[in-house]
Symmetry: C2
Amino acid sequence: MLSASNCNANATEGHLNRGGADACRRSAATKKSPWWKTQLFGGMINDIRRRAPFYWSDWADAWDYRVIPATVYMYFANILPALAFSLDMFAKTDQSFGVNEVLLSSVLASVVFSLAAAQPLVIVGVTGPITVFNYTVYDIITPRGTNYFAFMCWIGLWSLIFHWILAITNSCNGLRYVTRFSCDIFGFYVAFIYLQKGIQVLTRQWDASDASAYLSIMIALLVTAVAYICGIVGQSSLLQRQVRKFIEDYGTPLTVVFFTGFVHVGKMAGIELLKLPTSKAFFPTTDRGWFIHFWDINVGDVFLAIPFAVLLTILFWFDHNVSSLIAQGTEFPLRKPAGFHWDIFLLGCTTGVAGLLGIPFPNGLIPQAPFHTTSLCVTRTVSGSDGEANKGHTRRVVDHVVEQRVSNLAQGLLTLGTMTGPLLIVLHLIPQAVLAGLFFVMGIQALEANGITLKLLFLARDKHLTPKSDPLMRIERRWAIWAFVGLELVGFGATFAITQTIAAIGFPVFILLYIPMRTWLMPRFFTADELGILDAPTASPFTMESVGGNHGQVAEPLGAADATGLDDSDEAERGERRGSRGDEGVKNAGGPTRRRSSFRTPQGLELDNIEKS
Amino acid sequence: MLSASNCNANATEGHLNRGGADACRRSAATKKSPWWKTQLFGGMINDIRRRAPFYWSDWADAWDYRVIPATVYMYFANILPALAFSLDMFAKTDQSFGVNEVLLSSVLASVVFSLAAAQPLVIVGVTGPITVFNYTVYDIITPRGTNYFAFMCWIGLWSLIFHWILAITNSCNGLRYVTRFSCDIFGFYVAFIYLQKGIQVLTRQWDASDASAYLSIMIALLVTAVAYICGIVGQSSLLQRQVRKFIEDYGTPLTVVFFTGFVHVGKMAGIELLKLPTSKAFFPTTDRGWFIHFWDINVGDVFLAIPFAVLLTILFWFDHNVSSLIAQGTEFPLRKPAGFHWDIFLLGCTTGVAGLLGIPFPNGLIPQAPFHTTSLCVTRTVSGSDGEANKGHTRRVVDHVVEQRVSNLAQGLLTLGTMTGPLLIVLHLIPQAVLAGLFFVMGIQALEANGITLKLLFLARDKHLTPKSDPLMRIERRWAIWAFVGLELVGFGATFAITQTIAAIGFPVFILLYIPMRTWLMPRFFTADELGILDAPTASPFTMESVGGNHGQVAEPLGAADATGLDDSDEAERGERRGSRGDEGVKNAGGPTRRRSSFRTPQGLELDNIEKS
């Protein structure tokens, strides 16, 4: 039902010489044997078999400068939101979860996944949705007199079982139906959660005083502006390459450090600002041991935990896999195989352990996971050499990704170091307002990269001024684009609305329902060509090999994508980008490498050019 | 000593069919008879003779929609800074000047210049420098026991005489030596005065309370961001053309209105914010009549006013003429002749009258005057049609300017209406913080358009990523660019520093000294080619006809600028623009039409294309 040209287009994306045609053929083959007939454990075994040969290279390849900024950036991009979420849970679960629990959860996840995962690029930690999950369960359970930690522990243990079942039955093969459509909705949702949490942090500042509330808003706005401008400078042609990259890599952390000091300058020193609440090093926030007494609970409550565990498993299956998909999206020229089944098995383990320790359950982080891959990209800025068309223009192309396990492990160990006494005191210096600003920046940058935003911008654009080469222009029925974006927005709106209610924990179900709708319902109203342009597989056939290839892809001879066609789309991508940030365009930063568009076009040609030069 | 190609390049700038060659020839002829031998009154008579035939068309041509947004925009862009300056003077001259004085000054200037000026596009009002002048004189004079208003009146009367002398002796012929070099320094200075005044307004908010100070900063930041984004949207390809233009035209005023209401929402309503101080309608702020008793002063003080009047005259001669030059810069395809001599004569009249009424002296406004011309530009967005190079790109070209007197008069009458009781009450609602935000936006937009900024960006840019077609790349000695920009920055720095001291009133002398330095000293250290690229005449030969053409221009046959050359620079201009806002560039908004670059390149070709299509 999908356009046959999908496979073709994907096959040319960065993997010209590797696996493309194979994957297509395999995918076509997979169609004949549905996933429920697949051998149990087959997915996991395959994942290990394919990834194991690369294990030692994952450590050897880490000898690369990119690992350092990636580690530092990930440390801050992981820990700062985690801290802010801990703040949220701290307030809403009556101090059951604090900074130490969240940090330990991040450390646990990072150590396990960096050492053992098939997809070590995927950053795992405490997310916004799990925060919502935790305090919603708290609201539901504690009025019944149930021991919250024991109940959470049982949720974790049941989830462990469910995760293992999902891993053993090769459920991740269903990922072939998860296209940009679902990923974009979820990414949009997560971005708005960030913005909302930022605002909530700010509203809490009135507890101190009016002056500190407005000072906090001012600080948050300044942090947003400065960190955002750092991102723009990093993507610009200003300054020497090293300086520019430094600003891009360390701009956000340095902004946090700067404004943490800034609030002590001049008259601001006199205003009390709320800081991050921290507690004793290495100890749980509440007066308890690290090991949960999960037997201190009614037998009835043990089974009451099952529906919650089901919801958690749905959330994690979706959230973790989508994180993995986006972190290994088509725009990253990865050379090492993925392994979705094995990682879900691992996720079950960490969920169970987290339950036993009474810490928040970690899972794949959006947008941190894709930001991690982005920060590991070795890019080259090439001056346009294809004649007049690019005279004076330059563009960045991703040469390769430094695929290794060290940056993930190192950021986890840094987080562990943060749990020591002295560093907890440093953390305690950070005003909550700075975290709010950080939330805004992350939310905005995630929104900019989202396919829904890009389609909305296309629809808002003056028709007369839209480049004819824009792929969306090839869709004749303009209402089809409206309908597609409308469905995405309804999905986002419903998910976001549910999150605000006591039914919040039910939101994963809603998102999950969108996958069959996309697969079986939407092709009845949209033509295959339209869906081919509006939607696309998130990851390349090479990555999807782990789950049996992408849905609807048919094998076609390689090289059928003629050069003209590629050139055209390539031009479109650049035209789009220039158009939206150039003289006639709305600002749309975050830059090419952070952008994941639903109608991303082949980059194979560019890469070839580079590899030859 | 200047490059001969200057004239050539200018002749092609928008006036291909009109006057270009004439002006060049005339300029060459003028060289033989220096200005001091020119007949007295000659300049003024010429101005009237050349402009009078267009007088009625100045009213008839106003039947154009552009006049409406230009009027509204100018009303706000003129009155809001004027109010903020009044706030400044109110505080620093012990309430001698208030809102009513400043409004009356704007009304007086607008009525006189819209009805009688040879250059009705030039918006005249109360500027930052005159604010500095007023309170510096206050600081110097009042300790001596001198009647401030009587003294200011004498300054005005002496200045009237000096202005008339300057007009009669055709002094404006000296404008041929005023290039972008001086204009950029002055524009840079004015932009920083805006930013500084914005900060000063904010620091004053601590008088109310800590909370209102931080709320004010928050509001100012939001006003800056929103108004800036409105500007970006206006220049983008988003939304329908009408909606887009509406946002561009009315975005800033609506932002002011919105945030004036916004501060009454929720918890902000409880915070006291300082508002604009207003007084009784139509009456002077202090208890006095409108007519100054200028005889209530020592004879000695009458003559003491002379040196001050000289400084004022220097300031006004320079400031007003530079405003006129920039408002009639090469980027605007004007069709009606300019008249600098006559306008200086008129400026003498308004200065004298303002002195007699005890109101601040009005003169040409930067950046409002060029913004006025910009807002009267009828632009067309054309999709790039010259082959692959512009595939999918669009650009705006100025088709023509609605040259008339109505928008200038109408914004003056609106200001008069503002002096009535009810509207004064409305004005009193505007928080000072909103004005601070407005100052920031105007300062930033003025900076972005400044030639110094553009050269600094060029120098900061990665050499490997600078388009080869950038005109500045043709300069072999890179230190020459550094030296040129360095001289500009020293000029700016010195002027700005003087303004902070009691010697502030002396700053016009300093700026004036830069003109001979540019004309006679700099050609010894820079080659003619370098100066030709780094600097350029501000206005076109057609505009400069009033003052005998541009310095150093030699007649050359038209059409000598070969098409390739034009294409090249055209590409450069776009490359530069895209480069700085595109995917690899720093954000640099304000857009093409607001941009006045020192190395602006010919637009004649583009316009021709349009006129043919």
